[in-house]
Assembly symmetry: C2
Homo-oligomer: 304 residues x 2
Amino acid sequence: MKVVALSGGVGGARLVDGLAASLDSDELSVVVNTGDDFRHCGLWICPDLDTVMYTLSGRAPIDRGWGLAEETDACMNALKRLGGPSWFHLSDQDLATHLLRAKGLDEGLNLSQVTDLLFDAHGLKTQVYPMCDAPHPTRLLCDGAEMEFQQWFVANQAEPEVQAVCFPELGVASTAAVRAVDEADLIIITPSNPYLSIDPILSLPALNEALENRKGACIAISPIVAGRAIKGPLGKLIPALATRPASAAAVVAHYGDLVDGWVVERGDEAGFKGPVLKTDTVMKSRGDRKTLGRAVLDWAQPLL
Amino acid sequence: MKVVALSGGVGGARLVDGLAASLDSDELSVVVNTGDDFRHCGLWICPDLDTVMYTLSGRAPIDRGWGLAEETDACMNALKRLGGPSWFHLSDQDLATHLLRAKGLDEGLNLSQVTDLLFDAHGLKTQVYPMCDAPHPTRLLCDGAEMEFQQWFVANQAEPEVQAVCFPELGVASTAAVRAVDEADLIIITPSNPYLSIDPILSLPALNEALENRKGACIAISPIVAGRAIKGPLGKLIPALATRPASAAAVVAHYGDLVDGWVVERGDEAGFKGPVLKTDTVMKSRGDRKTLGRAVLDWAQPLL
């Protein structure tokens, strides 16, 4: 069975970790959002790719959505003492990832090639593809002006109200990502933020077309738990962007025909249509992730 | 009195530290070699500027020619574990300097502006100017092929025999550096390597012309101690490049008419012509540097 997961950061990465526990490395591929990527202090930072990488390595923190669990901040503290930018955290071992990525890009590799190299360096065999190689930055329309994603999300702690999510510079979907979707028997939309993590992937014409023409079934894990967005800024984004409450109905309407079946938190099934798996979707431990991954794969079999 | 020092890394930086102890910040300016600068993992590394900065901050190690005395290597160790480049050492706090420089360059500042910003961030008031803003890389002809400076110096530990030092991409001397030389009452060639640290500065046409047309006196501190090059690869370079032994005579011949007076190690005065100050030129402690700086300035007074 060929499975492809569409993923952003934390929630997506944890489900991917659960799926990887049940699938061989040639059965699973992951298409990762790169809309959050940005240049910082000479380095090219790919937050979602790194979160997937650190999560699959078992080195991501449980209680934090970025970086490594066991880390030091000698560089960051020195940068702060020098009056350097402190709004985006660069810890010491995490910096090694960014330096190695910068080296690869300097040498003319594209982001897909550098991602291969980094996952390989981290000892990971899962096939992980950036959604595109060229920048395709997510920008947010706030108070009538476009704001860079990290400026909104990190520097301003996702506080400015968002009127629209936009993709002003269109990238081209990476060949490997499109092929993975084309060949997939099962496409899994992870519980990452639909607007900020999945929409950037869907905004790439070739990937969108591949998803519309899919031979495989497409299922989604709902990010709604106990009637609310499970985490992050989604709770505020749904009312702002979908002009309805953060609810099952809003998420169902958002993905529309793309989704052939839903995995939803037990008790949140009202409002979801078609085949629905009711289960525990909140993943804390690696055990939770493995259990959910296995449950999703088993449940999806009859849909194929 | 306006004094300008021409400096490379360690030896030059230590004398500059000694001069700074005796001069007000508006009396001393320093023109620093940037021929060793290079791009590494997305960052622009300026070894001599950083050595001058760390030495003036009192944070440079006594027993090592680069980096900071009190440092950690969390990032470098992680980079090695990932199979990243280990030939050039990037320690944690030192990285903060490189990140802040990269940020400034990304924002469109030139190297002079970024250098101002970095020295200011380190709390230093001495006026330090990169010899030029654009790259002006030193390359070494070894076995008939051009080698990048850091490849030769660090990666190959200065072992390949050098047939010639070349400057294949001519930069333009920075305005501030030229003005400092124009206005100087006293120009001091520090005991940095004549071929690798001072010649790159002299290779810039506008700086060379300013030095030839100097209104001030130009003195040099000889890097020869006990008949040999005091440190680094100079001992091998003089015989190779000047086709004579590493001696006073070789250094005197190398600088020629540029030097109006010499500061030489006591006992090494044979071969030096014109006004000569015989003293202890080896600087270990900050006290040594201050003593030598003071002695040089006092001795130079009658030459002005």
